[in-house]
């Protein structure tokens, strides 16, 4: 990223503030990151963090139901929210003229959201439709982000379904919502990021004006989600009534990015060397030379790179013809990993992947929304938005030896192996 100014402050109530000016754009973005994700939701309430995210759009003390959407869009802006392993974000991007309005909207719901039984029941229905759309009524629903974690992890926070079971969503009560808000949505457990066309001093004044009088509450103590590394392969099969072809996912543990960022980035580049582009190792071997899989991909991070604290997952996923046994796919992946663990990638091979990463980061930074969310998430998760700024340089400094070591660490540890098996004959084309 080119030179980026990061301005920080912490309000008296503990709310962290990150302000990032960009004189070149006509738009401004406001994001609220709350330090709670689906890993923190209580047992018996799977899907609650995500359901609660929906409730935060349902009105607040100064805003009737629907008013939040209408004010953002009626100011010419766009909005969204999303629930991740370790955080939940809420954001809007608008013409710069709407900056104060956006801060007002975010502050009002962080101060006093209107949690009602009627809105809760309505949003349980909406979330169930979201799950039907994205999981139940389509092939490969929840693959691999819902299906793989229970294979690799043992504890509830890491293993459970973050979208939630219908029965547990239906049991969610208004009192659950109140307890969740009071516990996790303390200003001391949240961070506001403002990025785009803005004046830094004026923005800091407006943040104080709108968020400053939210009463302080203690931040919850963040539990450790650590689990021992798996020592062996753990395998599970699930059936999929809609899938025409089998699929498989491999899950490995990643280094802790907070403690060993370079080790983590070695894994990120390993994923690229394995699967990004026609020249990548697994594309050449499994897709083209051996014809074992239709498509294959690899990724550091269950929901993307540098998007969670430890533990997080390195994934390899593939869709393959029914005639190919999954063990043939696994054997070929292992052979390619062994080659990389022995000799590493060539310097040119790695340089090409770094160039593609660098270009991809430039593209992200060209949109206020992605730049803001990237900075905000790294600031919240690791306390260093600078990670997003320095990422291109840090990746460029990763050596072939570090990528080799990443491949070796995958080969020397246990892993989760998820097999997705079509249940029936393919659906008709009606």
């Amino acid at each position: 990223m080119p030179a980026v100014e990061l301005h920080r402050t912490t309000l008296a109530n503990g709310l962290r503030v990150l302000v990032v000016p960009d004189p070149a754009t006509p738009v401004v973005g406001v994001a609220l990151h709350v330090d709670v994700g689906f890993r923190s939701e209580p047992e018996g309430r799977t899907g609650f963090a995500h359901l609660f995210e929906h409730l935060m759009f349902q009105g607040s003390e100064s805003l009737e139901k629907l008013a939040h959407f209408r004010h953002v869009q009626g100011s010419g802006g766009v909005f969204n929210g999303s629930t991740h392993q370790d955080y939940t974000d809420y954001f809007e991007v608008l013409p710069a003229a709407a900056l104060e309005r956006a801060l007002f909207l975010e502050a009002d719901r962080l101060r006093a959201p209107k949690l009602t039984e009627e809105n809760l029941r309505n949003q349980v229905d909406v979330v169930k439709e979201e799950i039907r759309l994205n999981v139940l009524n389509r092939p490969y629903g929840g693959f691999p982000w819902i299906l793989l974690p229970p294979v690799l992890y043992d504890t509830f926070p890491n293993a459970h379904n973050g979208y939630g079971d219908f029965s547990e969503l239906e049991q969610a009560s208004l009192d659950d919502a109140a307890a969740f808000f009071d516990t996790f949505y303390s200003p001391a457990n949240a961070q506001v990021t403002v990025a785009g066309y803005l004046d830094v001093d004026e923005t800091l004044r407006l943040v104080e004006k709108h968020f400053g009088d939210i009463p302080a509450r203690p931040a919850p103590v963040r539990p450790s989600f650590a689990e021992p590394l798996p020592s062996a392969d753990r395998r599970q099969a699930v059936t999929d009534a809609h899938a025409p072809l089998p699929a498989l996912a491999l899950g490995y543990r990643l280094p802790d990015p907070a403690a060993d960022l370079d080790g983590y980035l070695g894994h990120a580049l390993l994923a690229s060397v394995l699967a990004d582009g026609e020249a990548a190792r697994l594309q050449r071997r499994l897709v083209h030379a051996d014809g074992l899989v239709t498509d294959i991909s690899a990724s550091a991070g269950l929901m993307g790179p540098l998007d969670a604290r430890d533990p997080d997952t390195f994934t390899i996923t593939a869709v393959h013809p029914a005639a190919v046994a999954p063990d043939r796919v696994l054997a070929a992946v292992d052979e390619e990993l062994d080659k990389l663990a022995a000799a590493g990638p060539s310097a040119d091979e790695l340089a090409r992947q770094v160039a593609r990463w660098s270009a991809g980061l430039h593209q992200e930074n060209d949109r206020v929304m992605y730049r803001m969310l990237g900075l905000g998430a790294r600031e919240l998760l690791y306390g260093r938005a600078e990670i997003a700024v320095e990422l291109a340089d840090r990746l460029a400094a990763v050596t072939p030896e570090q990528v080799r070591a990443a491949a070796e660490s995958l080969r020397s540890s246990g892993r989760g192996v998820l097999l997705v098996e079509p249940t029936a004959a393919q659906e008709g084309n009606e």
Partner: protein, 475 residues
């Protein structure tokens, strides 16, 4: 799990606290109010005008139109090459899909890996997609690598060889991908809708069958490339941190050798949509239903287009629309409901779509028809039009605030015979629309009687309820 938060208010409501959750917390009602009470919404500040960059335009001797815009910000360049690529032959869809899958797999001087390596070295990527109307090669790369990117582009356009082995492998993969795509409810619904509204016009052939693809030979692909992947009628758009004159010279140098005697093939306009019953399409075991309704609309050139855009927003074109507020935020029938204008050769069509649980399919259809009728009988209010107008202007600004967004917009507009002047003037057109004009287009284009469409779902579950509403045919 445990939490360690302590409520300091001294008040709490004992309730059904989840095991392990701290029971000392405020009630929902206490959380929702403060001593100070509700606060006023801050006014908007001054809108900042942003000049769009000038677009340099140049037509090569071959007939290729080149559009270049200097837009710094990040050191990248975005590329879009749009080639009209229609065909009437029954096998056209299968041959063109496989051409698009194999265009980047070999030239007289580079193999598949070599092509990719060369692009990766300058942080570049190219992708090929095809539909019944056009073939598009889209990509991006570091701005300093533009000559390399153009050199690879020129090589595949003028010297692609479609190696037999690559064609054979990609043919298998394409067949497998088609089987996956056809198991997606949205694909099934889209195919049914296209047939319902456009009959057997070539615009409906968005995805070939596996059998059609299995029959395609490498020679057929090479013949189609020679006959149809041609510069006259095609448009190359470049946007990025580049010097426009230098970029045009680089294009001239790289693509000057791409010539043909014939012009690229434009898709003929599809037949006008005729209103009629919705077709019920049976998908056994489906837990949701896809509602897809469609009616005629207006092109961007039409003086009433801006009014139609606002009417559409109020109906279902954004989150704060009547349809979304009704069937999602009030009824909880769906995760999303959307309406929008889709451009087709020579015209435009309106589409309304939502996916809903099987047991509320009839109810959601009833509400959708109700909202269509309501838009005509109870036209958008002043406040609704103002909100839609602000959103239309603001979201246009946001969508153009990146190299990729600007490149895609310019490419789509150019294909429709419009340029950046249209974009520059569009906010003023939106500002000028009156509430009466919105009511007029609402009456003409959103009347329930103007629509046709499909409902895809488990007919054994949804059939009786949907049929009882009338205007439904099928199993």
């Amino acid at each position: 799990m445990t939490t360690a938060s302590q409520d300091t208010s001294g008040q709490h409501t004992p309730g059904n606290a989840v095991p392990g959750e701290n029971p000392r917390h405020r009630s929902a009602e206490e959380i929702g109010r403060t001593e100070a009470g509700p606060r006023p919404l801050p006014p908007l500040g001054l809108t900042r005008a942003v000049p769009l960059p000038d677009v340099e335009e140049h037509t090569l001797d071959s007939g290729l139109r080149v559009l270049v815009a200097h837009r710094p910000g990040v050191p990248m360049v975005e590329l879009r090459l749009r080639v009209p690529f229609a065909g009437d032959e029954p096998e056209h869809s299968a041959v063109s899909e496989l051409l698009s899958s194999t265009l980047l797999t070999g030239t007289t001087s580079r193999d598949r890996v070599g092509i990719d390596d060369e692009m990766a070295a300058v942080g570049a990527d190219l992708g090929v997609s095809v539909d019944p109307e056009r073939l598009q090669i889209g990509g991006h790369g570091l701005a300093e690598g533009l000559p390399d990117l153009l050199s690879v582009l020129a090589d595949v356009i003028t010297s692609a060889t479609y190696p037999d082995a690559e064609v054979a492998r990609e043919r298998d993969r394409l067949i497998e991908r088609i089987s996956v795509a056809r198991s997606q409810p949205r694909t099934i619904a889209r195919e049914a809708l296209q047939r319902k509204r456009f009959g057997d016009h070539p615009i409906t052939r968005e995805m070939p069958t596996g059998d059609d693809v299995a029959a395609v030979t490498a020679d057929q692909i090479r013949a189609l490339h020679a006959a149809a992947l041609v510069p006259r009628g095609s448009i190359l758009t470049l946007v990025g941190d580049i010097d426009t004159a230098a970029a045009i010279a680089q294009v001239e140098k790289a693509l000057g050798g791409w010539t043909s005697d014939v012009a690229a093939r434009e898709l003929s306009p599809p037949p006008a949509i005729s209103p009629g019953d919705l077709q019920l399409v049976h998908r056994p075991g489906s837990v949701q239903s896809q509602l897809r309704l469609s009616a005629p609309a207006l092109r961007r050139h039409d003086p009433r287009y801006a009014a139609l855009q606002l009417a559409n927003l109020v109906f279902g074109g954004y989150f704060s629309s009547r349809l979304m507020e009704n069937i999602r935020e009030d009824k909880g029938y769906t995760y999303g409901a959307h309406s929008g204008v889709e451009f087709v050769p020579g015209g435009a069509v309106l589409g309304v779509e939502t996916d809903v649980a099987s047991d509320v399919t009839a109810a959601a259809l009833l509400e959708t028809r109700y909202e269509l009728g309501r838009l005509t009988a109870v036209p958008p209010t002043e406040a609704e039009v103002e909100a839609a107008r602000s959103y239309a202007v603001g979201s246009l600004l946001i969508s153009l605030d990146s190299q990729g967004g600007l490149a895609s917009s310019l490419s789509a507009l150019a294909a429709d015979g419009l340029g950046i002047d249209w974009l520059r003037a569009h906010p003023a057109r939106l500002e000028a629309v009156t509430t009466e004009q919105v009511a007029e287009v609402a009456l003409e284009f959103f009347a329930p009687s103007a629509f046709t469409g499909v409902v895809v779902g488990d007919a054994d579950v949804i059939g009786a309820g949907a049929r009882a509403l009338g205007g439904i045919t099928g199993p």
